[in-house]
């Protein structure tokens, strides 16, 4: 059941230009970033940087990819649940013997599979340097995992925002607001707070940072899984209430 819904969503993404444009745009921007990074390490003057090429690759390529995903995912999720309740697709699912949990799981699985190749693009670009530079595949793998987990969190936040309103634009804006809030939480120290406590832990970017440094910590894995599960649970609760609206 979940598989059938996910397969249809995935098929829909690639039968329409959505999936291809996402992949092509990400590829084009990341290729430019890769050339910028490589440029620092070529030419007559060697790079005078403290970080090696591996850290430069992971921070620049994966950091840029994370920002691109933050911008793209709310647009992908905006119509996933936000469509008019009388829209044909919603009516088809609502009339079928399928629970809201199955629908949400199917949509989330489709997004996870759609975002997986996008998250593997930076690693694939990094690996093109394999014969020419001492690229660390382990670091790229850890960074890819971190990026995918971040994308899953963005997808869960996007789905939650999509369940709040039937208007796709409003749901995308709500998702941006939520994600920006989660991005800025760990920067509250700039406002003068000495200790951030739980606020520091809630920001997603510092957890991704450890993956980009090649460190896969259980606490960071737990953060992404817990936050994603939390937003999915909120979405499910909202969907269950929606029928009464």
């Amino acid at each position: 059941m979940i598989r059938a819904i996910a397969a249809r969503e995935w098929l829909s993404a690639f039968r329409t230009p959505v999936g291809w444009v996402l992949l092509a745009a990400t590829q084009a921007i990341l290729t430019y970033v890769l050339l910028e990074v490589v440029d620092d390490f070529t030419g007559t003057e060697p790079a005078l940087r403290s970080a090696g090429i591996n850290l430069e690759l992971s921070h620049n390529l994966f950091g840029t990819a994370a920002v691109l995903l933050l911008l793209a995912v709310p647009l992908l999720t905006a119509r996933a649940l936000a469509a008019d309740p009388r829209a044909p697709e919603r009516q088809l699912l609502a009339a079928a013997p399928v629970s809201n949990g199955d629908i949400l799981a199917g949509k989330f699985l489709a997004l996870a599979l759609l975002l997986l190749p996008v998250c593997l693009l930076p690693a694939a670009l990094g690996l093109t340097l394999l014969g020419a530079a001492p690229v660390d595949p382990g670091l790229l793998l850890a960074s890819s995992l971190g990026l995918w987990l971040s994308a899953l969190l963005f997808a869960a936040v996007g789905l939650f925002a999509a369940s709040l309103t039937i208007h796709p634009v409003a749901s995308a804006l709500a998702a941006y607001a939520l994600l920006l809030m989660l991005s800025l939480l760990s920067r509250v120290e700039q406002l003068g707070a000495d200790t951030l406590g739980v606020l520091d832990w809630l920001g997603w970017n510092q957890h991704l940072f450890w993956f980009l440094a090649g460190v896969v910590r259980l606490s960071d894995l737990a953060y992404f899984l817990l936050m994603t599960a939390c937003f999915l649970a909120l979405t499910l609760r909202r969907l269950d209430n929606l029928r009464l609206a």
Binding site: A4, L11, S12, R86, L92
Partner: protein, 305 residues
């Protein structure tokens, strides 16, 4: 009538409010397998709201819907397995091929994988989709998309079929085919068809419910014989009319006569007899049904009835 057969749908005190507006007000009815029920009413009467609630798409503000004994609110998955629903706009995915779409619908309705090809082939045959299995739904005409929606509603052989304006947008040939299909489905399943067209309901349904502003105005059968209305230039005494062979019974009404034909005769025989008698035939029409009178009254056109 319903008690003798298996009750497939039971609606009890169904009410639905949007803010302060009541779209449905305490609907009560039941439907047995083998019955075709027409839900008739002007636009905004609450037909679509009623069908969406019956299909499990919308929760009622109060009241219960039981499908084959399963409460749609408490046991929705079990109840929905018995329901096939065609909404107002066919729920098709433009980017899917017809075969893919029906396969997807079969999976949504939990048909085992090994039975899906047979179910898809049956529905395509039933709905006239045999030649278009590989075509993208977005490239098909409105009529074919409507048929695909109908096929999707029938893929799991539901016991309760709910069709919201099923012939909307179809050409006359397709309309005739769909009406035939509805009658065929009505032999085994319970079917609810909504329409704002009297002719549509009269052609496909054996029972009708008239809705207006969310309230049920009429619930009755359509297959009872109707009388004829006869107007003559030189009206004879009633006894002379009763003496004619095609007349079983007659009564004076509004300056003319209401006539019930004898078994085995037709209106043409009555017309012939009246002309032969030299009474000057002015008008011979079928009497409007209660349904028509009620319908016109409900939309505020009582004088037209």
């Amino acid at each position: 009538m319903v008690a003798a057969m298996e009750v497939m749908l039971s609606v009890q005190g169904l009410t639905r409010c949007y803010g302060r507006t009541a779209a449905l007000q305490g609907l009560d009815f039941s439907l047995a397998s083998g019955e075709v029920l027409g839900l008739l009413g002007p636009n905004g009467a609450g037909k679509t709201t009623c069908l969406r609630i019956l299909a499990g798409n919308l929760a009622p503000s109060s009241g219960r819907v039981l499908v084959d004994g399963h409460d749609l609110a408490r046991d929705p998955l079990r109840a929905k397995r018995r329901i096939g629903y065609l909404p107002e706009r066919p729920p098709v995915h433009a980017e899917m091929r017809v075969d893919e779409f029906l396969d997807y619908c079969a999976r949504l309705h939990r048909i085992p994988s090994r039975d899906i090809p047979r179910a898809v082939a049956r529905c395509k045959r039933q709905c006239g989709l045999d030649g278009v299995g590989r075509r993208l739904l977005g490239k098909l005409s409105k009529g074919y998309r409507q048929r695909a929606g109908l096929a999707a509603a029938l893929i799991h052989e539901p016991d309760l079929i709910i069709l919201d304006e099923p012939t909307d947008g179809l050409d006359p040939v397709q309309i005739r085919e769909v009406r035939g299909l509805i009658r065929e489905l009505g032999n085994a399943a319970a079917v609810v068809v909504s329409s704002h067209a009297l002719s549509e309901v009269q052609a496909s349904c054996r029972r009708v419910i008239v809705l207006n502003q969310g309230a049920m105005l009429y619930d009755g059968r359509l297959d009872q014989p109707r009388d004829l209305l006869l107007r003559l230039k030189r009206p004879p005494p009633l006894s002379a009319l009763l003496a004619l062979a095609p007349v079983d019974d007659a009564a004076e009404q509004d300056g003319g006569f209401r006539v019930r034909l004898a078994a085995g005769t037709g209106a043409d025989r009555l017309a012939e007899a009246v002309v032969d008698a030299g009474w000057g035939l002015i008008e011979l029409t079928r009497e409007r049904t209660d349904l028509e009178r009620l319908f016109f009254r409900s939309i505020g056109m009582e004088s037209a009835a």
